[in-house]
Symmetry: C2
Subunit: 380 residues, 2 copies
């Protein structure tokens, strides 16, 4: 790739091409078994199949007394019937031998170890039959599933102490420059974004804008991908693209998106690397579309934007440059209108804080007319 | 409260009453300053007001050369004009004295320290004016805001190294019993649920079902709230309600909801305590409606269910008992139908794993007819 310093970009790659490069180059990490307690939110690498029936035996679905239903025949409020056998059970507990129903505690009275029924129950009442939830050999959880809290409960109940998952990728965040007020200000945002996408962040820097030092930090072992924030532009000190080339390969530099058109992609020490501009709003936009895509793919998650989406109507015209994927920060009004808060060119995060989310205007579009349907990607 | 062991509940409290008890008794923790890097997802305790204009000076919105626009007059592709002064700037950097525009690097050529313009720029082009994002004294972030990644970037940029937030509540999870297969299986689920709601979980147990030992664990200092899973029912070993009474106060026991009707609420050692049944599906349901509500309120978050919701149409009739808030696990079909996967009475988490979410049938309803509108609370 050309050195763009002092010269500018001779052209920029469409965002869709950059994303295709990521999808072709970046795959999920190799599966690994992790302890159940650490598996929340991770992606299951193999389906989980029940190796026994669930439940393994008839069990209570309510608290009460396990009884033989036939023994309760004729029992009523004014006609208590003494049970030949009655054992207290809690919902979820297996039924003792010879019992086929659960008498609610409210319909029973226990005196000196003897239980009287004040109501009759039908056979099977209050009972879940063996294998009612799943027969042996049934798939309980599919491969690719992002494990939910309740999934961990299920896995624990069937005896999994470890789970085969895609482990969280180790993400090195290099702070390589940025606005004059100090790019360490970016660290907390980058860490929170990486965690949201399932990565384990490690912050390095701020580093002085030194090509050799940056190249070394890019190539150092121990990361599954590297993000660099800052020093991606056309100034003399913008050595991040050169350092990435030194550390491996600079595949793309200059992306047709706003904000963030000095972003880039490559390989550093054998792992994917993403160049994010140091201007905070550009860093955010390029993280969402490029850096986060790499994190999400390594974590085995869907590659696309993870934000909840909301359909809305443009309150005003959103003007866009043909040839550039443009990000508008917008506010969602109570009546479903998307109000622009800041144009793609406006730097800084104060407008992002005022916005509820963002709308993307594709490169081939001149913009969106007032009243047109738009998709809002919500920040929350 | 009465000892319900062997006797059953003489009545059950409506879920709405239990939730009102929580809302009246449980407030957010006292605000505290935490380092910026640890503030993601926490709730801002005070509004953040800009104490200076943002940006504090005119700044570049794109990479290029800061120039005086007047100097570029007449410049064009075939008419390069030598700049009297031109300084490389990156998007976000302040403009040097005397400059009022940013010439894109692509419209410039830098030779031996001298810059030629190949295009003219208007005054203000590529520049964000001082205070354009926010004047001094403007509220940048409101109190009560759950801090987003971009908010951390903004706070970092304006120099906050610490943020005043509601700290994450310390949540003690007592494993006090449960199904025969071992209630340690519940730990991973409970931990994941508490983390989702912004709490810091600490697991204690499994403890033997010993009233004095449980009461001690309830009352031990160091927790902002206590959840106990198991031993809440009507069996001889169901000593959790009695232990809670010993450790402080048992306010409610027996809630008109399914699953989970042996849940309860109280105060232990001065902090709120929630009794969750040990059957895993009942533990999940009562966590979502009661335990999680306490966690969320202590964390300063909205008290209600945190799940994304989806409107759907009941594929079949969902039968419900009058007098009980019933939870149906449902699958959401591609055509927007809510297919019941398991009735409120069905124990176990295999059905929750097959479901996409759940539908609540309020206590005053006999159920939902096929074709009626329902709200699905999504597990994901």
């Amino acid at each position: 790739m050309a050195d763009v310093r002092g010269r500018g970009f001779s052209g920029r790659v469409p965002l869709s091409v950059a994303q295709s490069w990521i999808d072709a180059q970046v795959s999920a990490l190799d599966p690994r078994a992790v302890p159940l307690a650490g598996a929340a939110g991770l992606v299951l690498a193999r389906p989980v199949v029940s190796d026994a029936a669930l439940p393994p035996a008839d069990r209570a679905v309510r608290d009460g007394f396990a009884v033989a239903a036939a023994d309760t025949l004729g029992a009523g409020s004014y006609n208590p019937v003494l049970m030949a056998f009655a054992q207290p059970v809690q919902a979820g507990q297996p039924l003792p031998e010879g019992c086929d129903a659960v008498l609610p505690a409210e319909a029973a009275q226990s005196v000196a170890g003897l239980v009287e029924a004040f109501d009759s129950v039908a056979p099977g009442s209050g009972v879940e039959r063996r294998a009612a939830a799943a027969a042996a050999g049934i798939e309980l959880l599919p491969a690719g599933r992002r494990l939910r809290p309740a999934d961990l409960g299920l896995l624990g109940a069937i005896g999994f102490m470890e789970v085969p998952v895609v482990p969280p990728p180790r993400v090195r965040i290099l702070l390589a420059g940025g606005p004059r007020d100090g790019n360490e200000a970016l660290a907390a945002m980058m860490v929170a974004l990486v965690r949201r996408d399932g990565g384990l962040p490690e912050v390095v820097g701020p580093l002085v804008a030194d090509r050799a030092g940056l190249a070394e930090a890019f190539a150092a072992p121990g990361a599954d991908l590297v993000l660099v924030a800052g020093r991606t532009g056309v100034g003399e000190e913008d050595v991040a693209p050169l350092a990435l080339a030194d550390a491996g390969a600079l595949a793309l530099h200059g992306i047709a998106m706003r904000p963030g058109d000095s972003a880039g992609l490559g390989l550093a020490g054998g792992v994917p690397a993403v160049l994010l501009p140091g201007e905070p709003m550009a860093a955010l936009a390029t993280y969402e579309h490029l850096g986060g895509r790499v994190v999400r793919r390594r974590a085995g998650r869907p590659a696309g934007l993870p934000h909840p989406v909301r359909q809305a109507v443009a309150a005003r015209k959103l003007v866009s440059e043909i040839g550039s994927d443009d990000l508008y920060r917008v506010r969602l009004t109570a009546d479903g209108l998307a109000e622009p808060v800041a144009s793609p060119a406006m730097p800084g995060l104060a407008a992002a804080a005022r916005a509820d989310g963002f709308v993307m205007i594709p490169a081939e579009s001149e913009g969106v007319a007032a009243g047109a349907a738009v998709t809002i990607y919500l920040f929350d």
